[in-house]
Amino acid sequence: MTDLLAARLTMAISLGFHIVLAAIGMIMPFLMTIAHYRWLKNKDPECYRLTKAWSKGVAILFATGAVSGTALSFELGLLWPGFMKHAGPIIGLPFSLEGAAFFLEAIALGLFLYGWGKMNPWLHWFAGLLVGCCGVSSGILVVSANSWMNSPAGFRWENGQAFDIDPIAAFFNDAWLSQASHMTFAAFTAVGFAVAGVHAFLWLRGYRDEMHRVALKISLSIGSIFALIMPISGHFSAQDVAERQPIKLAAMEAHFHTSTEAPIIIGGIPNEETMEVDYAIEIPGILSFLAFTDFSAEVKGLEEFPREQWPPVLIVHLAFQVMVGIGSLLAGVALLSFFIMANKREWLFEKNFLILLALCSPLGFIAIEAGWIVTEVGRQPWIIYGIMTTAEALTPVPGQVYHLALFVFLYIVLTILTAWMLWRQLEYSPKMPPPDEKTLKWAFGESS
């Protein structure tokens, strides 16, 4: 294995591992805040138990996410010093703001998790809300650095050096809005459905605890709202890519030949040699419409670009199909869920619907991973689009395959341990006690 491939895989697994935890760390606080609010408002003990049960999971996942996020900030320099040497001064600003947001998030989490009975109950609730707000902010800030790699801005590049650096212009690069919003909505969708699926699964396994009923309603509502926003957000992201990175769009759609009334390709195995897509269903005109809001618009194919600038078409196309497929499926399930919640409440805990939700549980995260594969592999061979190749950014330190092996091992261990710890929490959840006298007195005063 070459050092380049090893380094890319190390980065990929570091990012792939972290993004799941980051999404959970961003969104779970909001779910908790809703349950927490309902407890403080209605004194419903089930909402208290749910808040406590969720917060235990969040504590475990947040800690793992904090350290895997640290790993990413180290890996930037360890793997890509050529990139960091030039990009560091240009995109350091969002990273430093993200550092501040992350700091605030860690403090708010500490206050929320350990502050029961130690501060004003509504201030304590607010600390929980702050965790979510800071989490989403740091996510949005750090995506700015990634979107800059797709749409570099705020500098002039001459003879392999950056001049006239403008960190503010780099920060507000063109791709930021579409990428950051797409990622944020995706996180809400994925976490909402993942949590709903877990509680559906527990219900099916016979944990008929009232707490799970509340949990399922909260998480499914959040997941469903955002699952319906996702296709719109995805559409704007695709239009953005069509304009700025036509080669990435061509790879996503496996669109080899420039054409008007370009078809959308569903499924299929792209063949880079023959420049054909085997076994695909083509619907003419749709790609032109989606990319440029015009059924007869010309969409550039891969043939327009030199071969050495092509990203790996097969990987990008398949990942894109997986992402869009799951997005559409979850949007469908969201519609069904809303129909059930509005008209057929008794179906919500029907066996078949719960099985559907349980099956959907991992899908959102698979879509997020696929989406990152699309954006990262789709940018290859560039690390800074049109400016610097990934190979140029690679560390000169040899033996990166050992680095990869170490981190594959480490992340497998961490994944197993985290999953196992969460499972133990779930098994324990029926025993989660309702609020005791002291807590009730703290939250509601003498009257209760």
Binding site: A59, L78, K85, P89, S96, F102, A106, I107, L417, R424
Partner: protein, 339 residues
Amino acid sequence: MTFEIVVFFLLASLFLYALLGGADFGAGILEFVSPGGKDKRFRELASKAIAPVWEANHIWLIIALVILFYAFPDAHVLLATRLHLPMILMLVGILLRGSAFTYRYYDVQQDPKTFKLFSALYHVGSLMVPLFFGIMLATMAGGTMAPESASITVADYFVSWIRPFPFFTGFFVISVFAFLAAAFLQGETKDPDLLSLLDKMLLQAVLAMLICGCLALISAFFYAPLFMNMVFKGWVGPASFIVGSALLPVYFYLKKSRRTWLTRAWASSLLFMILMGFLGVMFPNFIVFADGSVLTLRSSAAPQVVFDTLAVALLAGSMVMFPALYWLLYVFKIKQPEP
């Protein structure tokens, strides 16, 4: 002006990481190394003390790293390539400590086998981070790295830091962190048994600090002559050594009074003197190479606009961060805990 602000924040975050993060690592070190660490009551006291704060304390490292790669890209790139291995190993320690601590703290079923596994990972992580942190600092100072322009061989990635001076410095950092933990935990309990246990640990840590500190200096004398030259060139190094040595006995005198915050501040000032001594010796160098050439923060600085934006971001950020940090410490450390 903005250059100085940025350097101040870089050093301040380094100090706060060593102080607050260091004390958290020290709890894991004491648990593993000190004979008293096996005591269940000590473990529970230490875990309860660090659980709400360790994540916030850890972020000072991220802030230092981000300042480094935004404002001093050449320095960051040199560290990440030349000290690639110790940096990876420090990262492994960070991953193990943070996750294993949380798993152990939150495990609902507490069976001895799982407990042993998580404890082992937690201990290894707690030792690795200060060890490799110290190794990196000493290698930057020791004058063993091949110069910037030299062509690098595979061996260079090992021989610059697998040496006595960096390792003894690493052990010294371990003992300093253990000292901070023992000193800070004094204020967390009123149980006389635990307090006498902590007193013992404090003595052990101070002893280890003195031994490792001497060994680091002796090894520097023999194996890092460039560093030793710098030590005796100015007055800052010897002066902070003398002041630091003078602070230590006073600490033991103060400790008798059991005035929590005074003794904690005194222990912190010891770390401050150690860091000041090191930085004073190094100033203005960031890395000293084998041929005597140096890299300074000034020479690796990014364009001015970076410092202007970063200084504003840091000042604005600190308006939020420091009150928030105070809030956290107030709720868990300052306000009297309920009986």
